[in-house]
Structure formats: structure tokens, C-alpha cells
Amino acid sequence: MTDTTAPKTTVSLTVDGRSVEAKPGELLITACEQSGSFVPHFCYHPRMSPVGMCRQCIVEVEGPRGKALVVSCMTPVAEGQVVSTTSEPAKRAQEGVLELLLANHPLDCPVCDKGGECPLQDQAFSHGPGESRYVEEKRHYEKPIPISELVYLDRERCILCDRCTRFAGEVAGDPLISFTSRGNNTQVMTFPDEPFSSYFSGNTVQICPVGALTSSAYRFKARPWDLEQVESTCTSCSVGCRTVVQSSRDELVRYQGVDIESVNWGWLCDRGRFNFESVNSKNRVHTPLMRKDGALVETTWSNALDAAGRILRTVLNDKGPDAVGIIGGARGSNEDAFAWAKLADMLGISARDAQLGDGLPAEVFALPQATIAETCASPTVILLAPDLKEELPVLYLRLRDAAEKRTTRIIEVSPRATGLSKYAWKSVRHDPGDQPRVVSELLATPEVAEQLLRGAVTVVMGRGNLAESPEFTLLATGAVLTAVPAARVLPVVRRGNVRGAVTAGLTPQRPDADTNAILSAAAAGKVECLVLIGADPASDVPDADLVRRAFAAVKHVIAVDTFVTESARHAEVLLPASAYGEKVGTTTNCEGRVSDVAQKITTAGTARPDWMIAAELGLELGVDLGISSYGELHDAMTAAVSAFAPAAEAKAVRREGAVVAHPTPVRITAAPRSAATRLSHQFRLHVARLMYDRAISTSESPSLAPLAREAAVHINPGDAQRLGVREGADVRLAANGAAVVMPLKVDDAVSRGVVFVPFNQHGSDVRQLIRHDVAVTDVVVEVM
């Protein structure tokens, strides 16, 4: 008989009497759990390397040399293993480990935040000995101590599983906590004078198997049995991490990360994790506001809608639809944007833009696209983006992981060292505006050319510098796409649903109708009415002077927002909108994945979802959008916008979501060209965001608000020395006829000839120096 069977690609073993087929190289614990035998564990985490610290996952394995107790999280599967997770020796071992773990563990369950969702509690109950023989005095530490603004550490409860330290080191790249001392005194601790101020510290709270690490935002707020939860997608940035939104008594109380393979692997950044507090803020707008005698006073919906309708009708009738500009829509859901786009279509308003002049032109979504997973699997990634660690943190985690695992080589092109610089294969500094030339030259080097041939190439492109025109990034990308025709693009736009809003139609319908153009037209008197949908141009549009002039000249402003923002203060009518967690919808992340956003709490006051406001406003203006429920709206959207067709079914947008259909790709045809070189006495301005700034969701969350720093000028140490200024001294930056005064910071991440100022921070506003029609901003730094 001939052996016609294919070579075996799986490993056969026996687990608790069942025969199991496992993948070669898989860990024994995974094989056991997938076959239905739960193995108790603490330190093992599927997304981190196994360390075998806790010894709880001990199982009995019979191999060629007889029976042995092994830790299943560090033992790979092998052919012919006979595994028993419940035999006498295994049970005694598991019970013994639990008894030892509980020996020094304090009797804190009633006051511990983890009680009720604690793996130690659950496994002590299911696999523990049942009684403790420990009658001695347990070890004592001061408890709890804050190791950062957001995280508390209770060393008495720590079972030394190494999860938090592994995460900080392996996953986040911020090894700020580790084990110190030894023996019975081993404890997790930060380094002297270095708090655990990682952008991902909240994840350690989620993965800690006991209540040793707790978050200050959630401390004592509720118990697990009080919580109701629903799965949703975070919309704080455009990564769109999968989360679980938990509430108690109709108030948002916590977010936890959900592990999906395609996006976030269960991790969340601290901003997205803790900004639920802003939804509960008492500064939320509860009722519509109308301007009366110069101040915004509360009014009823009928009055407000009536007023807004009157304004729009007058402007549309007298001056035509081009006198109305719609700005915003990238903070809502796809359906919200679609409803507003439909309203704008029916009214003939073509001047609309979801981006606030601080992103990339909408055409980037028509370039050949890559998903996040594809990006992390490409052998070459070219970064033409802002500091991902500050703006899209979980994408930074993914890329760092790809770089550390050596599956990807990152070529970073940026004016300043970023969080990924130390993981990049090549990190090239350049003057802002010079990317096209730098990239072209880089692509020509033999080393890089050879690398590009190794496989797929992805360009991660974003608006790296708000003080320069986005065309340079585009041209640099064009250079890559010309050199590597098969290359693809991952556009990392800032706001949660820019891609969705643009796809739904909130994008300029005629040339020269983007936000900057709308604001210019408003300043010139051509646009008489501005409609702001969750947009705050006064804080977010880089050209502050333009915004000031626009608001001064425009006749009417109608705002739809959750708070009274800087821009809303100019509004004539403010219609309160539902915030995240208060409405149902879908959102599209930067890779085009549509996933659902769930409602968990009732909306504040009488606020409504944006789409409802659009429909009602339409009725006021005699236009029927034809939508009276969310279901109808979603169906209408997936029918009308072909890109959203994969998201038509409710099941499709849960969990992993559905990637939108890509339109016919376009090409960047313009030749790469750099900005003019700067004069030697000037510095080129680099403005980019930090994770914590004055954004509403951060500043209205009491835990996060203190983390936003003061605006400062970051200068290379060499330049500082040349200018003769010291750290902390005030300097004056002047450009384009304006000047601001800021303290100085010496930062060796900044390259020479460049000054970096973070965007939208407290203190002086650097945006006064930026002009939207100037390609790059050259500043003069004066010592005061």
C-alpha cells in the first residue's frame, strides 16, 4: 500500500483523554484551552511572551521519559504527549501554588477594585485548596501608592506574575516598571524620580490578575456586578480600537479593551481608555442654546430648530447655497455624516469638509490602501507620519511589535525623532517641507532599493506637520508610489471618523471648498452662514488668524456640539448632540474598517444624535431626508454609498468589522518638489500634536486634564547653545507678521534648524504663526 496521505501539518496529542490536533509550535496551554480543558494561569497572556512566573498552569504530561509536571505556558506541543490537567499530581500542584500565592495576599477582597472579576478569586475558588494553613503575619507595604497620575500600585496584593512589567517592556516599549529587591521582598516598582507615565499604563490595570494595579479613574466607582456592558469601538483617534463600554446606573464608568486580531489586540491607549469621564461631565450641553443679548441662553428644541431653520432659509434664499459652509462631521458616526451630507446635497450646499484643514486631502483615501494587519506584515514600512505614539498610539504598538519581531523594517522620515525612531531600521531627519527630496534620494540608495524588493511596501502617511502644507507629504508618497508601483498606503488621519465622514460625503463637492477655503470665504463675506458639526475651528484649524477673521466676519454660526467649545461661543444657535456611548452608529477607522459604536447610556439632557438633528433641520427647511429611525438610516447609507455596502448587515460590523470597498485607485502624478530652503537665521516650524492637549475629551476628563502640558518651544541642544538660551527661559517666536512668547525646552529629538511646538496646549497659541496659504512656516526665535 502506498502512503498517499499528505505530510502532517498538525501535532497530535491527548488532553484529558481527548485527542487534539494542534499547530506545531503552539503552547500546551493554548492547545488545552482550545480543546476545552481550562488550565488555571496568571502570568500567561496570549499577546505576550510566556515567562512561567506564576507556575499555576502546571499540568501533568506523559512523554517518552514518563510522567512529569510541566508549566503548560512554556511547553510547546509535541507529538504523542498525553496531558492531564486534572490528575492527582496536577491538582495537588495547582492547589499548592494557589496556597502559596494566597499566603501573603491580603484579605482585601471587599475593598479591592478587582473583587468580582478577579482571576485569583475565581481560580482560588475553582482550583484552590479551600483552606489556608497560613497563620503567620503577612508582609506589609504602604498601600496603595500612585506610580503615575493614572495608576495605583498595591504591592501587598501583587502576585509577581510579571504581566505588567512584561507589557511595559515588551509591548509598550516603556520599561518604567520592573521587579526590584529579591526573595520575599520582591516588588514591582518604578525607577527613582520616574513615574510610570507611559501612554499605555491603563493596559496594565486591565491585565493585572489581581487588584495590585488599579486606575485612579475607576477607583471605587463601582463593582463588577453593578456594571452593564456592550461592545463598541473607540473613536478617540482613527485606529478604532475595539472596546467594551461599561456603565453603572446610566453613567459611563469604564472602558476595557477587546482583543481583535485586525486592529488593537486588546490594548487601548490611556486617552481612549479614560476619556469616558468627559461624557459624564457636568459641562455638557443639555438643552439647545440660543444667543440672546450677547449671551447663550437655554431654550427649547422647537425654538432652536426654528431659529436655525430661519437662518438657513434666509441665507439660502438670499445668497444661494454657496453662502453656507458645513465644517466638521468627523467626530460622529458614519450615519451622522451621511445624514448631513444628504441634507447638504438636497440643499445644494457643496462647501463642506469633515477635516479642519489639519489633515490630508480626501484623495488619499483613493490611493491603493493597506489595512493595519497588512501594514504590519509588509517587510517595508515607510513612515511619513506624525509621531504615532502621540497621535495613533495603538498603531504605534502594532508597528513596534512588527519591528521587534523583525517582520518589518521601518524607514522613518520625519523632522523629529519619534517613539518609533529607536525601532526603525532607518530614521532620517529632515527639514519640514523637504520630504519629497529626502525620500527620492533615500529610495535611490542601493540599500533601500534592495529592501524595497523584499516584498510589500506600505507607506504610512499622515499630516506630520501642521505648520506646513500637506502637499509635501503627498509628493513624498507619490515618489514612493512611483518607485514601487505595488506599494500601498495607510492614511493615518487624526480624528476618529474622518474616513467615514469623507466616504459618506462630507467632503468638498467642488474644488476650493475645503475648510480653509470656507473660512477664507467667510472672512471675505462670501460665506454668510457656518454650520459646525462637532467641529471647533477656533481650537483645531492651524491658521488661527484665518479663523479669527472668519468668525468676526461671518453673519451666522450654527453649532451642533456636546460642549460649549471655543467656536460654539460664537454660535447663534447651539444644538446639543449626543456624545460617544449615547448613540448607535458605525465608525470607519483609518484602514477603512467599519465597526459598530454602541449606545450604553441615555443621552444627556435632551441632546440628540447628529443624524436626528439633520433630519429635523431638513424638515424645518422643507426637505425630507426620508429617515425616521436608525435602522432606516443605516440601510439608506449602505445602499446609497457603495463603499459602505460590506457594512450593510448588522453582524458584519461587530467584532472585527468590515473593510469598506475601495474605489478605483488614483495616482499621484505631480513630480516631487521640496519647499524653498530656509534662511539660516530662521528656524523651520514643526507643529504636531501630543497625546494630551486641550481637546475637549481630554480637558473635560478630570483624570486626564492635568496631563496636558504647557506649550513650549523645543529646540535642539546645539541650537540652544548657539542662541545662548537656557531651558525654561521665555523666547519669542515671530513669523508671518505675528509673534508668540513661550518657554524654551531643550530637546535632542529635534533636529538642528527646526523648532518643535506642540499643538493646542495651554499657554501661548502657536497657531497664530501659521498661515494656510504659506507652504512652510519659518520662524525667528528671539531671546527675551
Partner: protein, 228 residues
């Protein structure tokens, strides 16, 4: 007796001596005697471990026992308890430890007096007195807040205006909790393993079953040789 015997039985029950119930708030009778009706109401002695209105207890030094752990709310089958914990102010702690009960409310329209909350409490903070006569006239009064539930500085329960407190109703609060050790281990009977309460000191342990039996029954031959 046949069919008609039953009639004689019921007929014989007439008369004051046969009454088991008492003239509860006799009303007219006592008003005529111009004495205060409430104090004149005959009341049967309440069983020693009657489940009545809850109180939040204090330790002997005045600190509250409640640590805001929400275990009582979790176990309550009627979902009538709302608890929220908060951090103790280090300069002025309300309870010993990290956490104290900051919000504590019981909705007596839903409470079924099952005392599961008393069983669940790890610090014996919530116990039930024997007061059950506390009707209110509006829903708001029915939700007792922590201020109303907490015992006073002297350790005695607060007497709210609509409550009808009688002497002895604050004794024996949840006495059955002190019959054995917290884990129910019979070998710990009589061993005091609980903290003292303000105003009452350390409450004595309950008699064990064997002692109670010995006290109530005369010893019989069957008792000889029976293990205690």
C-alpha cells in the same frame, strides 16, 4: 365526635382567655382612658432574632464599620441597596482602612428583610434591629440614606420621627451571627471573634445548641453519655 363535633370546637374558642393576638393599638379603649395610645398598645415580645430595620454599626472608637464593599448590594435579592465606596480621607478617616461607604441607601419599599446582606457583610457593619413599625407617607422617605441608617455617636440606632421604637429593639441585632464562628465552625462556639460595637461593647457569644438544649430540657437518661 362525628360531623357535629367540629362545631363544638369552634364554638368553644370564643372568649378573651383564648385569644392569641393582643389588642394591637387598642384605639378606642385606650383613648377613653385618656392615656397615650402608643404606649398603651399591648405588644407581644418580639422573637429574639426578628428581622427589622437595618442599622450601620460603628466600632467602639466611633469609626464606621462599613467599608463600602457593595457585597450587601450584590447579594440582595430585591436589589434594594445602593452602595458606593470612596477613599478615606487620610487625615480624617471614616472607617479603618482604605475605603468607606460613601453612599449607602436602602429602599424599604423593596426590602424583604431576608438578612442576606447581614450574612454577606464582612465587617458586621450592617445588622438588623427588631423595629418593623416604620411606615412612611411618601416614596422619598422610604429610601433610607446612610445618615438615617448609621447609629448615633452613642451607638444607638436613630429614632426617626415616623418610627415606633420600643425598648429592647436595638438589642440582639442579628444575634444569630454570633452563635458560631463566622465560618460556622462549631468548634469555635463561645469564642468571641468579632469586634466590639459602640454603645454595646463586645456583644457576648450566643449559647451553643448543646447549652440551649441543656437549659431548656431536664436531663434524661438518653442524655447521659451523649457527646457535647
Amino acid at each position: 365526635m362525628g360531623y357535629l363535633g367540629g362545631f363544638l370546637v369552634t364554638f368553644r374558642q370564643h372568649g378573651r382567655k383564648n385569644r392569641v393576638t393582643t389588642q394591637y393599638s387598642g384605639g378606642r379603649l385606650f383613648k377613653r382612658k385618656k392615656r397615650n395610645a402608643p404606649t398603651m398598645d399591648e405588644k407581644i415580645d418580639k422573637p429574639e432574632r426578628l428581622h427589622g430595620r437595618h442599622v450601620l454599626n460603628r466600632y467602639e472608637d466611633g469609626m464606621e464599620k462599613c467599608i463600602g464593599c457593595e457585597l450587601c448590594a450584590a447579594v440582595c435579592p430585591a436589589k434594594c441597596i445602593h452602595v458606593r465606596g470612596a477613599d478615606n480621607d487620610p487625615d480624617n478617616p471614616t472607617s479603618p482602612g482604605e475605603r468607606f461607604g460613601w453612599i449607602y441607601e436602602i429602599n424599604y419599599l423593596r426590602c424583604i428583610h431576608c438578612d442576606l446582606c447581614v450574612e454577606a457583610c464582612p465587617t458586621e457593619a450592617i445588622t438588623e434591629t427588631k423595629l418593623f413599625e416604620f411606615s412612611f407617607t411618601n416614596r422619598k422617605d422610604a429610601i433610607y440614606t446612610k445618615n438615617e441608617l448609621l447609629v448615633g455617636d452613642d451607638g444607638k440606632p436613630q429614632h426617626l420621627p415616623w418610627e415606633d421604637w420600643r425598648p429592647g429593639e436595638d438589642q440582639h441585632t442579628s444575634a444569630w451571627m454570633r452563635a458560631t464562628a463566622p465560618a460556622g465552625d462549631a468548634s469555635f462556639v463561645g469564642v468571641v471573634s468579632w469586634a466590639g460595637e459602640r454603645g454595646y461593647g463586645v456583644r457576648p457569644a450566643e449559647a451553643s445548641q448543646a447549652q440551649a438544649d441543656a437549659a431548656s430540657l431536664p436531663p434524661s437518661d438518653a442524655d447521659v453519655g451523649r457527646k457535647h
